[in-house]
């Protein structure tokens, strides 16, 4: 199962918010075209961790990174690294759907235009393609010019996924993507994640252990800023190696 190469290699990663150390010496590989779930109690550093993977923590005052995050072998924090390009290659979907207050189609074309695409037929093709990949096309194809804010929460989240797909990322980060969705929309997003992993490398942070168990190939358990355990999901959820993982999964703390 480990035949897929690592797309992202995290080596000796530390992160500080001022004097407070939020991540402690994390070493982890994210494998290509697999879903890696990161679980752990609130405050364990899981969101901090994935936000580092596309440099979303750059603007945190007092934030300081040590160690390296290699995307296809190049350090994303190197001085010559282009943060705009990194964020294109490593897309992100957030906890709360955050579509732009624009039309459905503009939500998707925006990133493309930012990249310099001007050709109308290219953009139209991209809009359709991205919406189809995000399993939203059938529901919105007749109202592409209507405001994205008129969509339901679940639809808005899928629109955000489509927006992310339009710029052809390699890796997609999901930060609690179903936290504000109902069970049906949650199921749709989970099915979508399984579909997307055919083409993309996916990392999902979730509070919902069952969700991690259902959708992921690998699971990382974090606690108090440390990576306690990383392994195949079916192993982590049945015979974890670490006592702390066992206790967390069986509800003894967290």
């Amino acid at each position: 199962m480990d035949i897929n190469p690592a797309r992202i290699s995290v080596e000796n990663l530390n992160f500080y918010y001022g004097n407070k150390q939020a991540l402690k010496n994390i070493n982890l590989n994210i494998f290509e075209k697999k879903v890696t779930a990161i679980i752990g109690p609130s405050g364990c550093g899981k969101s901090t961790f994935i936000r580092l993977l596309n440099r979303m923590n750059d603007l945190v005052p007092g934030g300081r990174v040590e160690g390296s995050i290699l995307l296809d072998g190049s350090d994303i924090n190197a001085p010559e690294a282009d943060v705009v390009d990194i964020r294109r290659r490593v897309g992100m979907v957030f906890q709360k759907p955050n579509p732009f207050a624009k039309s459905i189609s503009q939500n998707i074309s925006y990133g493309l235009e930012l990249e310099g695409s001007r050709k109308k037929d290219f953009i139209e093709r991209k809009i359709e393609e991205s919406l189809k990949k995000a399993a939203l096309w059938e529901e919105v194809k007749d109202r592409l010019d209507e405001s994205a804010l008129g969509l339901s929460g679940g639809q808005q989240q899928r629109l955000c996924i489509a927006r992310c797909l339009a710029v052809e990322p390699e890796v997609i980060l999901f930060d609690e993507p179903c936290a504000s969705l109902d069970p049906i929309s949650t199921k749709k997003i989970e099915e979508l994640i399984l579909e997307l992993k055919k083409d993309y490398t996916i990392i999902i942070v979730t509070h919902n252990m069952q969700q991690a168990a259902r959708v992921s190939d690998y699971t990382a358990f974090m606690y108090l800023g440390e990576l306690v355990e990383f392994g195949h999901t079916e192993k982590v959820f049945t015979v974890p190696k670490e006592k702390r993982t066992e206790e967390y999964l069986s509800g003894k703390f967290g």
């Binding site: 989970e190 099915e191 399984l194 069952q210 168990a213 259902r214 959708v215 999901t233 079916e234 959820f237 049945t238």
Partner: protein
């Protein structure tokens, strides 16, 4: 997600059950035709495969429960497959016991022409294959009919016992061979019992009813 995994699981348990069914058939044919080749195959090739299936299925079921928190019928299916897997492994062991005795007998003259043991064998293999079919097709009626055949097998076993006791009394030189025949009928009877278990589990999956230990009759009487 879980649905697809359950289809895989069912496919695997059906393959496993079919293997065990073949082992039982082969051990009986080997006994009747004194076919040592077939008998050795059961022991050396089939039995290790059975053990591998059992471990695989245990792991698969554990993973499904841990990863998907199955509920209602999905949960019943997984629980049943786990039990079925245990029962099938036992049946494989019983087939190997039959093979051991059949190998012993294959090099010696017959005590008597075999009549009731082949009848038992036919009934038992039918119970097992009907049990598997009832699981595949979720056919509770078929499962119920299998449970009824169990009594016929028990009667035949008693008959074999009485007949062989009589033969051993008359001619002590047949004792060792007769004991092997008794062992074979005993193992066939166990396979029938385990097939009955399997069918009780099928009814649990399909209808959610527990019919073990005549529970239904007890409840109706209440």
């Amino acid at each position: 997600m879980l649905d697809e995994k359950l289809i895989e699981l069912k496919k695997e348990i059906v393959e496993y059950a079919t293997l065990v069914e073949k082992m039982v058939k082969k051990s009986l044919e080997g006994l009747l035709l004194k076919d040592r080749q077939a008998l050795l195959e059961v022991m050396q090739k089939d039995e290790p495969r059975v053990n591998a299936y059992e471990i695989d299925i245990d792991e698969l079921c554990t993973n499904l429960i841990a990863q998907y928190q199955p509920r209602a019928k999905n949960l019943r299916i997984i629980l049943m497959v786990l039990k079925m897997s245990n029962d099938l492994e036992r049946m494989g062991d019983h087939a190997v016991n039959i093979v051991e005795s059949a190998l012993f007998l294959s090099e010696r003259p017959d005590v008597k022409p075999l009549v009731d043991i082949p009848k038992m064998g036919e009934l038992v293999t039918k119970m097992l294959s009907d049990g598997i079919n009832s699981f595949v097709n979720e056919d509770a009626e078929l499962a119920k009919s299998v449970c009824k055949s169990d009594n016929l097998v028990d009667d035949l076993k008693d008959k074999v016992f009485l007949e062989l006791s009589r033969i051993m009394g008359q001619d002590p030189s047949t004792i060792e061979r007769s004991l092997h025949l008794l062992r074979i009928s005993g193992n066939l009877e166990r396979i029938a019992d385990l097939s009955t278990n399997l069918c009780e589990d099928v009814m649990f999956v399909v209808e959610g009813r527990v019919i073990k230990h005549h529970r239904e009759e007890q409840e109706n009487a209440r």
